[in-house]
């Protein structure tokens, strides 16, 4: 059921505008010049990771009390959007740092937060989010990695696949089955742990070669009897599934922000091209078929952006409809990014297909926003459920 | 009726500043038109030269000898004397230039006397209610005419608004002293440093040839200077050129630089974004050479030549030299 929105309208605060502009400057001056090379080499940009740390960008999602800057969800998304405009891989560094920390931020004890957050905020440590397995993508409850209690430890055995930053992280938020009892409720089987790596039994067994986001290492992680102390468990045993769902409510906007950024970046290139390129004696942007495409690209991007910002404000305000907002903004933004980048290639014609211009990379980068953090199909299920409720 | 004063600012070598000659001309004309007395005031360690020059524009000149002006910043020295004079005199208007020294004097005198200030005058007329001062505001978007609520005040006047024209007869020079409380602190000048490349105040130039980002580097400004020489003008620059270190800040035209009104503004490789436009949009004639026909300057220039500024500039230089050759 949809409740009345609160607050009824929003405006970027002066602080958020300043912040957005500060990140934009950094993105334009320091990140954008590296984007093509990152894609070509497929190497994780350590220099940009260090830049984000040095500029306190990685501190945005974390509470001031633990060394962060205490940014709201919208503030973090503004930063992800600006970075992603220049380079989707770099935008993801901030997005994953936030995403993977969310279980700790939502359900961690003060002791746990004090232990781990300061170095995450400073960017000294990176953190990855490990839910997905080879046989469990959309179906989170079907994961098979086990965490068995043994004295004061848990022993984790299993493997995770498609883990962003899995090979460069210092901490991994791992979701594992702690209750294998077939009669146990599906949503109470999982628990969440923070695994500090390297550690005996932990291995990165594979790095994927991807269509896009090529500078971001996507890893397969093997846990072969990895011991973690009970103190590393986030929340109570059995809380894992709900924690994952709550995490998605706040992490999906981050991916939506990445998608909006990618779309805007592609639109900027296409619009500039349409202004400069002349055929048949005039700017191609003055031909209606091209102008129409660009107009649709702009409207699509702006719609996705406004929905994202609104969703962030609603979620931050504690709306009971957080899942609906987060799924909806990610759904719209991902589709927007794919459409806008594809059209951007079209506007550039042959030049859009070669790497002399960045739009082909942006199109390849955009696709993932329709796939990860919940496929578009999953997002639709979430929205539909919010709309229709359950069958009484 | 009160007199109209002009406070003469020091020019190079103790002479009269160009702006003061222009202001004196305007003051003479206003005084004649309204039946008032026009008085020029010179404050200097040795006012003789400047006073003699000023007397070719005005019937009456007060020459105040002030040794402190040798090694103290002039504006506070002059302001002290003006404030003291105002203890016994009551002019209807006091004119100064709208440059650095003039503004400093205007501010100090205004604070100590409560006289209002109207700034950057481009034209002055006189009504029954006192001076009516015209100025360009908002970067030239609007022309306003304003007056003083008390019917009298201080007016700062832009360069190149009046042409300096000497009077038919030479005026009288009267040595004056201005006694009174010396309430304004003076500032010591330890050293006056001349830097290579620094020229006369660019606001005074009748022709300015200006270079922007398109010039590409300090060497490129060689062409700008050659064209300025060939036209008998000064070299100006956009902020981009100054920030890149190709030319000193003193020559920057625009919002955080100088506002100019030459007869000709020739812009090479300048896009004409608003921060620059506000500095030169009231120029008599604006000619731009730029590769980019979408540049904002193409919309408000009188003549826009599309092309490579070095090629067009070189061709122009050849033609100009051939004419005077």
């Amino acid at each position: 059921m949809v409740t009345e929105s609160m607050p009824p309208t929003y405006r970027l605060t002066e602080e958020q505008t300043l912040l957005r502009d500060a990140v934009r400057v950094i993105a334009d001056e320091r990140v954008a010049p590296r984007a093509a090379e990152i894609d070509k080499s497929g190497e994780f940009p350590q220099d940009l990771r260090e830049l984000l740390a040095a500029q306190d960008i990685l501190a945005l999602p974390f509470p001031v009390k633990f060394g962060g800057l205490g940014g709201e969800l919208l503030t973090v998304c503004l930063a992800i959007e600006q970075l992603s405009r220049a380079c989707a891989t770099t935008g993801l560094i901030l997005a994953v740092q936030e995403l993977a920390s969310l279980p700790l931020l939502i359900a961690g004890t003060d002791g746990q937060k004090a232990r781990w957050i300061p170095k995450l905020a400073s960017g000294e440590h990176l953190i990855a989010f490990a839910v997905t397995e080879a046989e469990a993508g959309s179906d989170v409850a079907a994961i098979r990695t086990r965490a068995v209690r043994d004295g004061d430890d848990y022993v984790i055995t299993g493997s995770k696949r498609f883990i962003s930053h899995g090979s460069v992280a210092d901490l991994v938020t791992v979701f594992a089955v702690t209750n294998a009892d077939p009669t146990a409720a599906r949503s109470r089987r999982l628990s969440c742990f923070v695994v500090e790596v390297p550690t005996p039994g932990f291995e990165v067994t594979r790095i994927e070669h991807k269509m896009g986001l090529r500078g971001s290492p996507t890893a397969e992680l093997a846990f072969d009897g990895v011991r973690v102390p009970v103190a590393n468990r986030i929340g109570n045993e059995g809380d894992g599934f709900e924690l994952a769902m709550k995490t998605f409510d706040r992490s999906r906007p981050g991916i939506a922000a990445q998608a909006v950024g990618i779309a805007q970046g592609a639109l900027d290139v296409a619009a500039a091209y349409a202004r400069d390129r002349r055929q048949f004696g005039k700017r191609i942007g003055d031909f209606q078929l091209v102008a129409g495409m660009l107009a649709d690209m702009d409207a699509t991007t702006e719609s996705a952006r406004q929905l994202l910002y609104k969703a962030c404000v609603e979620i931050e305000a504690g709306t009971p409809d957080a899942s609906r907002w987060s799924a909806m903004c990610k759904l719209v933004a991902g589709d927007a990014a794919m459409r806008v980048t594809t059209d951007a290639v079209q506007v550039l014609g042959g030049y859009g297909y070669i790497d002399e211009f960045p739009v082909e990379r942006m199109m390849r980068d955009a696709k993932i926003t329709q796939l990860y953090e919940g496929t578009q199909q999953i997002q639709r299920l979430v929205v539909a459920r919010a709309l229709l409720g359950k069958d009484d | 009726m009160g007199a109209i004063w002009v406070i003469a600012e020091p020019g190079p070598d103790g002479g009269l500043a160009r702006i003061s000659a222009e202001a004196a001309t305007l003051v003479r004309e206003l005084a004649a038109a309204t039946g008032r007395e026009a008085i020029g005031i010179v404050v200097a360690p040795d006012p003789a030269v400047a006073a003699a020059d000023l007397a070719t524009y005005l019937a009456a000149v007060w020459a105040i000898t002030e040794p402190a002006a040798t090694d103290h910043a002039w504006s506070a020295v002059a302001a002290r004397h003006v404030v003291n004079l105002l203890g016994t005199e009551a002019p209807d208007a006091i004119f100064v230039g709208a440059g650095a020294d003039g503004r400093d004097v205007a501010g100090a005198v205004s604070a100590q006397t409560g006289l209002g200030v109207l700034v950057n005058a481009t034209a002055v007329a006189w009504t029954d209610a006192g001076p009516a001062v015209e100025m360009n505001v908002f970067g030239g978007k609007l022309i306003t005419t304003s007056g003083f609520t008390a019917g009298r005040g201080i007016i700062t006047i832009r360069p190149n608004v009046t042409t300096a024209v000497q009077a038919d007869t030479v005026g009288r020079i009267e040595p004056r002293t201005a006694d009174g409380p010396a309430a304004l602190p003076l500032v010591r000048v330890l050293e006056r440093v001349s830097e290579a490349g620094a020229k006369a105040p660019i606001e005074e130039a009748k022709i300015i040839v200006s270079g922007g980002r398109g010039v590409g580097g300090a060497e490129g400004f060689g062409l700008v200077e050659d064209l300025a020489d060939a036209l008998g003008g000064a070299v100006g620059a956009s902020r981009a050129a100054v920030d890149s270190g190709w030319i000193p800040y003193a020559q920057q035209i625009g919002q955080t630089g100088k506002i100019v009104k030459p007869e000709l503004y020739l812009a090479l490789g300048i896009s004409g974004a608003i921060q620059h436009k506000v500095g030169m949009r009231t120029s008599g004639a604006i000619v731009a050479i730029n590769r980019d026909t979408d540049a904002p300057i193409a919309e408000f220039a009188d003549l826009f030549v599309a092309g490579d500024l070095f090629e067009v500039g070189a061709a122009l230089l050849t033609r100009l030299r051939a004419r005077s050759g």
């Binding site: 002066e14 602080e15 912040l19 500060a22 400057v25 306190d56 800057l69 940014g71 | 190079p12 910043a73 504006s75 650095a100 503004r103 400093d104 205007a106 501010g107 100090a108 205004s110 604070a111 006289l115 200030v117 109207l118 700034v119 970067g139 030239g140 978007k141 609007l142 022309i143 306003t144 005419t145 304003s146 003083f148 005040g153 440093v193 830097e195 620094a198 020229k199 036209l231 920030d243 919002q255 955080t256 007869e263 000709l264 608003i274 921060q275 008599g284 000619v287 050479i289 026909t293 919309e299 408000f300 009188d302 003549l303 599309a306 067009v312 070189a314 061709a315 122009l316 050849t318 100009l320």
Partner: protein, 263 residues
């Protein structure tokens, strides 16, 4: 080292949104406002001096309408310590003379070693307020600064004042007022930390009553100048655009200059 930086919110010059209000003065309700350009150079100079000294405080002082805190936030984010905001409905429509008097009065309540101010503001471009403030306070005024060097041990300050031929090296005892120019250096972009920290910084509001000043003798009631008329400048006419060879362009320029009697 205690520095006060005068900061004036002005309509963003890049937005081209400046216009007169119904009272014949600049309409300050037109958004968006930014910190006056020259004041940013002044603030940057202050920040550099504090950094070099390893200690110091920077207080922003602003006389502005009620919505100024939004604009002051960027200046606080750059690193100023706190802000004092003088605001009063009666101050709307103040002329430069009144503004200087009010700011001088507000400065009397602050402790400082020197005051930095942009030499002029992009909205009025008068350039007289800092000199007037110094005169009110009986302080030396060192204007058009391209370099500022305070010496806290001897309590003096040296300033390079831009001159037509180069610069004059000025010196005065502290406290003093210094007029700042762009030549002092590009203002820093606030860091993220600075932006977030600005939230916690104090902005003290002072009304005319707080300053012990009579509304009847300040603001629009006491304006020394008044607008009589305003008009649009005559349009320049259409731009003549010349494409062709460089020599053709050059020839047209020469003809144009002859037509206009410039050569």
């Amino acid at each position: 080292m205690r520095i006060v930086v005068l900061v004036k919110p002005v309509p963003d010059p890049a937005s081209g949104s400046e216009r007169l209000g119904p009272d014949g003065r600049l309409d300050r309700a037109v958004a968006p406002n930014v910190v006056n350009g020259n004041d940013e150079f002044a603030l940057e100079a202050a920040l550099k001096l504090v950094e070099a000294a390893g200690e110091g405080e920077i207080t922003l002082l602003s006389m502005a309408p009620a919505n100024a805190p939004e604009t002051l936030r960027k200046a606080l984010a750059m690193g100023a310590t706190r802000a004092v905001h003088v605001t009063d409905a009666a101050l709307a429509g103040s002329c430069a003379v009144s503004t200087a008097a009010v700011l001088a009065r507000a400065l009397r309540d602050l402790e400082f070693d020197f005051v930095l101010a942009g030499i002029d503001a992009s909205d009025g471009v008068g350039g007289i307020v800092p000199a007037a403030i110094a005169a009110h306070l009986g302080l030396p005024y060192l204007s058009y600064a391209q370099r500022i060097e305070p010496d806290m041990t001897t309590r003096t300050i040296r300033v390079r004042r831009t001159s037509p031929t180069g610069y004059d090296l000025l010196e005065a005892p502290l406290p003093a007022v210094i007029g700042c120019t762009q030549a002092l250096g590009e203002p820093r972009y606030p860091s993220l930390k600075g932006i977030m920290a600005a939230r916690g910084k104090e902005i003290v509001t002072r009304s005319l009553a707080d300053l012990g000043l009579d509304p009847a003798t300040h603001g629009a009631n006491a304006a020394t100048t008044a607008l009589l008329d305003s008009t649009m400048p005559p349009s320049r006419g259409a731009t003549e655009i010349v494409r062709g060879t460089p020599d053709e362009g050059a020839a047209r320029i020469v003809d144009f200059l002859v037509e206009r009697r410039i050569i």
